[in-house]
Symmetry: C2
Subunit: 235 residues, 2 copies
């Protein structure tokens, strides 16, 4: 299974070298990386009649990425609670952020797809990045996955301090939605005796309750209610 660089075709040599530049180490088994970087627009069927694309690798890579980022944040922030860690990790691994990381790594050049250039739907890159992590894990194990995610991905391309201070503003996103859809929005925010916080907010759209949230300030309760509502409405 080991791909000896001397036995590779010129096309594969090129792929090998570009890959090595992205990964920061020598890949062993190219087949995993080819699979990871093949978009589902290219339909390939293997010897067992199974359609081959990168979605199984995405499944694997997605959780390897979650674990390594968890490990990194756990050690970097020894006195922060699990709420802080969960929140910061979700900012790092959210689809939109992974898309931009995929672009920074140059995966758009490596990816094999029927869709090209501007037409590459942005999530293709984030998904390919997850699948690439899955390929690294299969090819070289957890240790190399950790090296790639921490040393290459996070340390070179992620601005942790900036992510910490960026508050995702669910309330603004909800307001954009109601303006676009021309519907009525009301926040109904009251004191509460709930143990989780002092205030409870409800999002009411066209007289229908669409979300609710609790928080220690009115602002926090409304943010949480807006976040909940965004999950419940078609956008």
């Amino acid at each position: 299974m080991f791909s000896n660089i001397f036995n590779l075709s010129n096309k594969n040599k090129e792929f090998y070298h570009s890959l090595k530049d992205v990964l920061g180490y020598k890949p062993k088994n190219l087949i995993y990386y080819e699979r990871a970087l093949t978009h589902k627009s290219i339909r390939e069927v293997n010897d067992y009649g199974v359609v081959v694309n990168n979605e199984r690798l995405e499944f694997l890579g997605d959780s390897v990425l979650d674990t390594v980022v968890a490990d990194f944040l756990f050690n970097k922030f020894p006195s922060e609670d699990e709420g802080f860690l969960t929140n910061l990790r979700s900012k790092i691994v959210k689809r939109k952020h992974l898309d931009s990381l995929g672009a920074k790594l140059g995966l758009d050049i490596l990816i094999k797809s029927k869709i090209r250039g501007d037409k590459i739907h942005s999530h293709v890159l984030g998904n390919a990045l997850e699948a690439l992590v899955g390929a690294i894990y299969l090819d070289r194990g957890y240790k190399y996955s950790k090296f790639f995610i921490i040393e290459i991905l996070i340390k070179k391309h992620v601005n942790i301090d900036e992510l910490i201070t960026t508050e995702e503003n669910f309330k603004s996103r909800l307001i954009e939605y109601v303006q676009r859809e021309k519907v009525d929005l009301v926040f109904d925010t009251q004191d509460t005796t709930n143990k989780k916080g002092k205030f409870e907010a409800k999002v009411i759209i066209n007289t229908e309750e669409k979300g609710k949230g609790i928080g220690n300030s009115k602002k926090e309760a409304e943010q949480n209610a807006a976040k909940d509502a965004l999950k419940n409405i078609d956008q």
Copy 2:
């Protein structure tokens, strides 16, 4: 940091031996395991004034568990798609199943809590199991976490074949809820032109829409709507 077994107090020796029986290997640094098995009902503050409990370890263990189970299923089912893998993993790692695994491992004996016996809220065990995986990861790395999860947890205590055939019945769970809460439940299920399926179901509780779902059969659409509704209601 290494806990030499000869230097331990009798109480700690007992803890060490019980732990070794559960883990299937010799733990090195007992402090991680003690932390993992301390419920938040016991409020401890460390030298930095930070409250110490197992929630940070739960955060870490949760994703290590996800990754190892993903790896295990990826290899066990080489021709199943990511939908199958995701679904099966979620059955393995869901809170209720982890609670029963925690009980099978005997974590109820090891756990340090102010709540005892019958009063132990069942999720305490599932949470402690996740935190224990976090402790293993910190103490002995990914390799031992994988050994523990696959060889001890999955192979001895998880019936994969049974989980595959168990369909989680969200509709029954929703019906149990409305009976308990004495509220009105209506499923409004219609044909749809939505690309994702032929039917669209809405769950209406006390005249308020609480969830919706799409499926290729009425049953599937209603299952999905019930699943969605369960997320949106306080249970």
